[in-house]
């Protein structure tokens, strides 16, 4: 694995850029809001109620955040299961986004649960409620956060093994780098299994809400649709992260994303077919034009999933930067629409509660938590080797 050390490079540059200061300021604002929440109680910063106890925290930070973090999951499947080794150089940035996405989803849950001091019982097996889909999600998210950290550790050890000032630490890093390399297959196997489990369970939980979920969303296909949206979001986030990194850091464009982009029509068309089956089996077509905002969301979903497939299959744009970018953005929008629809819009407890809409505090905190992904990403790529070394791209390497 000698070449490995050159596959990824550290981005040389100043960490303290204007972007860093702006995001840091927003994050500090969010931290203050969160401190206020712990001091005064949740009612002071959120619009959540007993009727709508899942605000943006679950619907955006957990449901959409965890989907956005599926880049690492999709890459792990592509590289290690389908043996497309040519994408291996993108794995670390994908895993880094996954690590942040999942950690922040977990963090959001810790902020929005009413009695956070009880969260400790999550780690006491005798208190486990094994019939709960929410428990499965929590367990998988927690475990997968650990797995992404393990997946990312080789990058850290690769960096620390070069610190010559502390030879023992350097030797330690080298040793563990090789140990982790040897058990990569195990980590990857767990890292592929866990998201497959909890991404679908994120949807299963909403089946359990029964009639409270609007018929346009309620269906036994929710778990499958959530799994497919995880793939779609994973593909789109790999493309988007790569494109934004090259743009913002003035790096050459990574052409491998055209290879990833070939998956777009398969993923989106699968989604459309399953969505049509789900609407048919739940007999919900009658609601398609009659349910106000719910209808708008569903129609927009079909458009945001259909247009990327059309761009890829029927136009030349599908292999251009603009086409790939627009497709990824539309796919992300589509997944957001679907997951928001299931978690917020379609969920109506119909018992006199005011419908939920995020408060100032929630909007800022949610945005800041998503920005932490960007913030941490930009910092870490300058500290440890994450980004692909594009200069050696095309080296003899098994395809």
């Amino acid at each position: 694995m000698a070449g490995h050390h050159h596959e990824y490079i550290i981005r040389r540059g100043n960490i303290f850029t204007p972007t860093f200061y702006i995001t840091t300021a927003l994050i500090i604002l969010a931290v203050l809001i969160v401190m206020y929440r712990y001091w005064m109680g949740m009612g002071y910063i959120t619009n959540m109620s007993d009727g709508y106890p899942w605000g943006t925290w679950k619907s955006v930070n957990v449901s959409i955040g965890a989907a956005f973090a599926c880049g690492g999951y999709v890459l792990a499947i592509l590289v290690y299961i389908f043996n497309k080794y040519k994408y291996h150089h993108m794995v670390r940035s994908g895993v880094l986004v996954s690590m942040f996405g999942y950690s922040l989803a977990g963090l959001a849950v810790m902020i929005d649960i009413g009695r956070p001091w009880n969260a400790i019982y999550f780690f006491v097996p005798s208190n486990w409620q094994l019939n709960s889909a929410l428990f499965e999600v929590a367990l998988c998210v927690m475990a997968y956060t650990g797995v992404t950290m393990l997946e990312f550790l080789p990058a850290v050890f690769e960096r620390t093994s070069l610190i010559e000032k502390y030879p023992r630490f350097s030797a330690f890093s080298k040793k563990w780098y090789h140990v982790l390399e040897k058990i990569t297959f195990l980590i990857i196997a767990i890292g592929v299994t866990l998201p497959s489990m909890h991404q679908s369970s994120l949807g299963t939980m909403l089946i359990a809400t029964g009639h409270k979920l609007h018929p346009l969303w309620q269906s036994n296909f929710i778990p499958l649709l959530f799994l497919i949206t995880a793939f779609i979001m994973g593909i789109a986030s790999i493309i988007l992260v790569s494109m934004l990194t090259s743009k913002l850091l003035h790096r050459p464009f990574e052409k491998s994303i055209y290879g990833i982009a070939k998956l777009i029509p398969y993923a989106t068309l699968t989604w459309i077919v399953v969505r049509i089956i789900s609407l048919t089996t739940s007999g919900a077509w009658g609601y398609l034009f009659t349910s106000g905002l719910n209808s708008v969301f569903v129609i927009l979903e079909f458009l945001t999933m259909g247009i990327p497939a059309y761009i890829a299959l029927r136009t030349k744009l599908g292999r251009s930067k603009r086409g790939v970018f627009i497709s990824s953005c539309l796919m992300i929008a589509g997944v957001c629409l679907y997951r928001l629809g299931v978690y917020l819009l379609g969920f109506n407890v119909e018992a006199g509660w005011n419908r939920y809409f995020p408060s100032f505090g929630e909007t800022i905190t949610t945005t800041a938590l998503l920005l932490v992904i960007l913030w941490g990403y930009v910092i870490l790529i300058k500290l440890v080797p994450v980004l692909p070394n594009l200069n050696i791209k095309g080296d003899p390497r098994k395809d």
């Binding site: 019939n131 709960s132 052409k255 599908g318 970018f325 018992a351 509660w353 939920y356 809409f357």
Partner: protein, 367 residues
């Protein structure tokens, strides 16, 4: 049975006060009311006249009242109330019975309590139920016209019950639809209703000379103010997700929640889970049989016994003190909408600007 009955000469004072204490407690009244109840019960002249009409029914409601023991039916009909007319219990029959009814109505006009058991058929001018040559509609309107108050006993008298199921061949309806305007009435639905709810209402009338507080369906709140689900002994299993999935399976034998077998407890308002039947020892859910929703006119005989109940009250009932009541959540304000809109708009705008700067020429992955 009679030797220990209320108001018999050899009844000890202790037993008398105990019996009234039980009744006032069952009513949820303060203990000091026991004295008033004792006065009301011991004043023999004060026995309220009761006329009890049967229409399309199975006499199950009467049977249920006869199974009560405190007070026993003998105490009830001989000492607590002046039962003037009750087809199942009266000694007289035929035209003699009808004469008694007319006599009682004349004697106690405007003072008697009318208890109705059974639904009233209105199709084809009500020919499907006749007593003494008169249709049920005529009898009801005639007798209710000079009643002091009307108690609709059982689901049939309340909303039609089993006779109104399916295609409703006789056009059966509950008494509330036919009662003359202005007559105060109250419904005690159930199949059968719990006898202690009837006794409680009678005792309330005796004491306060008015009907107890009622819900929108005219059911007394003391008995129908909560859902069976709220105080069900199997509730913890519901909350923990432990269900019996078919009769006789492991969950059923372990006494798990019967919701998935079609238990209508979550949408049925009644106090069965609190006071039970047969002197407070058994009740359907306790025996492993799902609640059939017999106090809800739009549940029993309208839905299959095995369909899942709608969870009618996801919020706490109004009986819970306000301090614990759910807050309704804040309403969205325009500025919150503007903030969310601005963030989404900024993201979309930035994406659009960036997209417009990107090349639209096709490229190849490997070059």
């Amino acid at each position: 049975m009679v030797e220990r009955s209320l108001l018999t000469p050899n009844l000890s004072r202790r037993d008398f006060v105990k019996a009234l204490g039980t009744i006032t407690t069952a009513l949820g009244l303060p203990l000091t009311m026991a004295t008033d109840a004792a006065e009301a019960a011991s004043n023999v002249d004060n026995r309220p006249p009761v006329i009890w009409l049967h229409f399309q029914e199975c006499t199950g409601c009467t049977e249920a009242v006869l199974k009560a023991t405190h007070p026993s039916p003998a105490e009830l009909i001989l000492e607590l109330v002046n039962l003037c007319y009750q087809e199942s219990l009266m000694a007289d029959f035929g035209h003699g019975a009808e004469l008694l009814l007319e006599a009682a109505m004349k004697k106690y006009a405007g003072k008697y309590i009318l208890i109705i058991e059974g639904s009233i058929p209105i199709k084809d001018n009500g020919v499907y139920c006749k007593i003494g040559g008169k249709t049920a509609i005529d009898i009801l309107k005639h007798v209710a016209g000079s009643a002091a108050a009307v108690i609709n006993l059982g689901i049939c008298a309340t909303s039609g019950g089993i006779a109104s199921a399916g295609s409703n061949p006789t056009g059966a309806v509950g008494a509330p639809e036919l009662l003359p305007e202005g007559i105060p009435y109250l419904s005690l639905p159930g199949c059968p209703p719990n006898p202690y709810n009837l006794l409680g209402v009678i005792m309330y009338l005796l004491n306060f000379n008015k009907l107890p507080e009622m819900d929108s369906k005219k059911r007394p709140l003391f008995a129908y103010g909560t859902l069976i689900h709220e105080y069900c002994e199997r509730r913890a299993h519901f909350d923990a997700g432990r269900f019996a999935k078919e009769f006789g399976d492991e969950g059923h034998r372990n006494g798990f929640c019967l919701y998935k077998l079609g238990c209508k407890g979550p949408e049925t308002h009644a106090n069965c889970s609190a006071i039970k039947f047969n002197e407070g020892i058994v009740w359907p859910i306790g025996n492993g049989n799902p609640c059939i929703g017999c106090t809800e006119g739009d549940v029993l005989f309208k839905h299959s016994l095995f369909t899942h109940a709608k969870v009618a009250q996801p919020r706490l009932s109004s009986n819970v003190p306000p301090a614990q009541q759910a807050d309704l959540g804040d309403r969205a304000t325009a500025s919150q909408g503007v903030l969310v809109g601005a963030i989404i708009g900024a993201a979309v705008g930035a994406g659009a600007v960036y997209a417009s700067k990107l090349s639209k020429e096709p490229e190849d992955e490997n070059k």
